[in-house]
């Protein structure tokens, strides 16, 4: 398997398969994850190979899915739960926030609830309402949860393996519009830490920070900026809780400028926390305020408007220009 080129969706599929092979306690559950293999086919073939007892089609009830996953975790299992689309996680929100996130602390460490919640998230696929949202703030703000999002197939594979191995609940945000982006995945290599950021591209004039689907956009923006003579560093944050502020700080100490990009609304988005904390850490290094590019304070718009709503190359470059102009 080492060094195979595959898309993100397949990498996650391989990670699930590998985890299920290595540990009989790993379960996959959700709506349509069985015969159908999930609406994005991320769980394709797993039920065939591991049976209905380990790849479980559930009733159509997200609170029930997460609530029973918690019970399964308490009984020794490691459920990996699929929420079909970002906008459908909210019926499960109570179970996630009041139970899953707190149970380990409530029990003073006596129980563990290693549940992974997979959420295909964010936009760009021209879908109807509720199918394109980026709700990561609503989970990252909650203590007890960990939130990650891979930007490429190799990370998708390893971060899923690590999330399943993690004894804490992990909300695993899958950048659905990048599901088919391919990259080399080496399943024998030794991965970096799950919550460490990665310098995706080096640069000296400004740092672009992003995660999940926006990493690609930022890399493209960095290339475009280069043609104009600006050297832009791109940090793939990979984790929204915890955030690897050390890597961001080191980068900003070198570049002096930071723009954070995500699809989620700017107001109280991940970028607000990055801006606040990096400004505190790098007050004397920053030559411009930390700028943010993201969604607007409006419901995700109908598909024909999503290109306007989503941060694209132009909007990222506009912010880069503004930051460089300080």
């Amino acid at each position: 398997m080492a060094g195979t080129r595959m898309p993100i969706a397949k990498a996650i599929n391989e990670a699930l398969r590998g985890a299920m092979e290595d540990d009989a306690k790993v379960l996959v559950m959700g709506e349509d994850v069985g015969k159908l293999g999930g609406v994005f086919r991320v769980t394709d073939g797993l039920q065939k190979d591991f049976g209905e007892d380990r790849v479980i089609d559930t009733p159509l009830a997200e609170s029930g899915i997460v609530g029973t996953a918690i019970g399964l975790a308490l009984s020794g299992y490691r459920p990996v739960v699929e929420i079909q689309f970002d906008g459908f996680v909210f019926p499960a929100y109570d179970q996630i926030v009041t139970q899953l996130a707190k149970m380990h602390a409530r029990a003073l460490g006596k129980v563990r609830v290693p549940v992974v919640i997979r959420i295909p998230y964010a936009g760009g696929i021209g879908a109807v309402e509720h199918h394109s949202e980026s709700p990561e703030t609503l989970f990252a703000h909650v203590a007890g949860l960990k939130c990650v999002s891979p930007s490429n197939a190799a990370d998708a594979y390893w971060m899923m393996r690590q999330s399943i191995e993690c004894d804490d609940p992990v909300i695993f945000f899958e950048p659905k519009r990048r599901y088919w982006d391919k990259a080399e995945v080496d399943t024998e290599s030794t991965p970096g830490p799950l919550h460490g950021a990665r310098i995706a591209r080096q640069g000296s004039d400004l740092t672009l920070a992003a995660y999940g689907p926006m990493v690609k956009t930022c890399l493209e923006a960095a290339n475009a900026a280069e043609e104009e003579g600006s050297s832009v560093e791109v940090v793939d944050m990979r984790s929204m809780s915890p955030i690897d502020f050390d890597t961001l700080q080191r980068s900003v100490e070198r570049t002096g400028r930071l723009v954070v990009v995500h699809e989620a609304p700017v107001f109280l988005g991940t970028g607000s926390e990055v801006a606040a904390r990096i400004t505190e850490r790098c007050f004397y290094h920053l030559e411009a305020p930390v700028l943010r590019v993201g969604g607007f304070h409006a419901p995700y718009p109908p598909a024909r408007l999503e290109d306007e709503y989503l941060p694209g190359l132009d909007r990222v470059l506009d912010a880069v220009d503004r930051a460089l102009a300080y």
Partner: protein, 412 residues
């Protein structure tokens, strides 16, 4: 009754209060159905289901049911036929439009025409409907311009009609949510002293959502005039109804203290009769009722779905013999209630409707960029104002900037 749904409405849609018909106290609700019924078999033919109310057999024969008598006029029967044919044609056209790239997605109602037309034709104008996302036939009966249904599937809006023009709420995608809205709306109707009813549509899959159970609880406790109309089309995307319940769904009502009944969902007359009874139950102050229309999703879940991955072709084929339109046509023909002219007329109307849908979709403009900032709030919000003007400025910068700088080389 069969006037094309686009006819303009001039009368107010809320029933006037004070009819005194609604008893303030809950009458004892009961169901005669035993909870120990045999476990439902997915592919069981409708006639073998003992509790299934049927008034028109797949062979087009009228049968009687002691509790649900109905005697529709020839005019009404022809109207139901026309409704179903036009709805099916519109639906087929929308599926085609999706294939041609004009729509991003389409959720077809193929096979569920009787459930939708029968139930919707049982309603008065002042009743109110809360649909899911597949109620194109209901929308038709409510008088919503069918082309308005296409907007959200094309991606130009999230619901393109005024819910209060036709007492037909917007499609709701988050499964089950609308059952609570319907219950609350019905509580409001009761408070107003009106005697209109509210109908909440939902699916077999939706029956598992906590919201639907809570809607049952609230409506029973407040004796709200709401009819829960469940189209059990046997599938929730790839999951058969057994993944949601091990007993027939209509039985759930009894445990909440109101009647539940299963009707042949491919029998338009039975759906009409049973829904009429349920709506009457609500109007007369007896509170909620659950109708389970036992039907079948003949097509894919949506155009994005591939049912060959999870169900056998034979299953679908077996349901073709129970086609809702075919059986009504057999009746109409046997009883000589239609002639070729009528049938041709309906076909022509269907062609015209399909053409109109096609043209309307193609003419649908993309919304203006700035539209995304509209209607976020009714009373305004300073952050939206700020972002709107910043974005307008940003857009304007492209217009004024010459062919240089970052903007020029961008392009999403």
């Amino acid at each position: 009754m069969t006037v094309e749904g686009t006819a303009a409405r001039s009368t107010p849609r809320r029933s006037s209060g004070g009819t005194g018909k609604r008893a303030s106290a809950a009458k004892k609700a009961s169901t005669t159905k035993s909870a120990s019924a045999a476990k439902k078999k997915k592919t069981a033919a409708a006639p073998t289901e003992p509790q299934l109310v049927q008034l028109l057999t797949p062979e087009g024969e009228r049968v009687e049911h002691p509790d649900y008598a109905i005697d529709p006029s020839p005019e009404e029967l022809r109207g139901l036929y026309r409704d179903m044919v036009l709805t099916r044609r519109f639906d087929g056209e929308a599926t085609a439009l999706q294939r041609q790239g004009e729509l991003g997605l389409w959720a077809s109602l193929l096979g569920q025409e009787a459930a939708q037309i029968g139930s919707a034709r049982a309603l008065r104008d002042d009743d109110y409907v809360f649909p899911t996302y597949r109620e194109h036939g209901v929308a038709w009966c409510r008088g919503v311009d069918p082309t308005n249904l296409l907007g959200m599937f094309r991606g130009v809006n999230n619901g393109g009609w005024d819910p209060n023009s036709n007492n037909f709420h917007l499609y709701t995608i988050v499964i089950g949510s609308q059952t609570l809205h319907a219950t609350g709306y019905a509580m409001g109707v009761a408070k107003d002293g009106g005697d209109s009813a509210v109908v909440a549509y939902f699916g077999d899959g939706a029956s598992s959502q906590g919201d639907v159970a809570e809607a049952f609880t609230f409506s029973a406790v407040y004796n709200a005039p709401v009819v829960f109309f469940c189209q059990n089309n046997q599938w929730a995307i790839s999951e058969p109804a057994e993944r949601q319940s091990r007993v027939p769904l209509y039985q759930r009502a009894a445990g909440y203290g109101f009647p539940g009944v299963r009707v042949d969902g491919n029998d338009v007359l039975a759906c009409l009769a049973v829904t009429k009874a349920a709506v009457e139950h609500a109007r007369s102050g007896q509170g909620p009722m659950l109708v389970e229309a036992f039907t079948y999703r003949m097509g894919a879940h949506t155009t994005a779905d591939d049912p060959t991955r999870y169900r056998r072709a034979e299953e679908r084929e077996s349901w073709e013999a129970k086609d809702p339109i075919q059986r009504l046509r057999l009746l109409l023909e046997r009883e000589k209630l239609v002639d070729q002219e009528f049938l041709d007329g309906v076909e022509e109307e269907a062609d015209a409707l399909a053409k109109r849908a096609r043209e309307a979709v193609r003419a649908m403009p993309n919304p203006d960029s700035m539209a995304m900032f509209e209607h976020v709030y009714a009373d305004g919000h300073s952050l939206v104002d700020e972002e709107r003007s910043q974005y307008a400025e940003y857009l304007a910068s492209f217009a004024t900037e010459p062919e240089s700088g970052a903007a020029a080389q961008g392009g999403k």
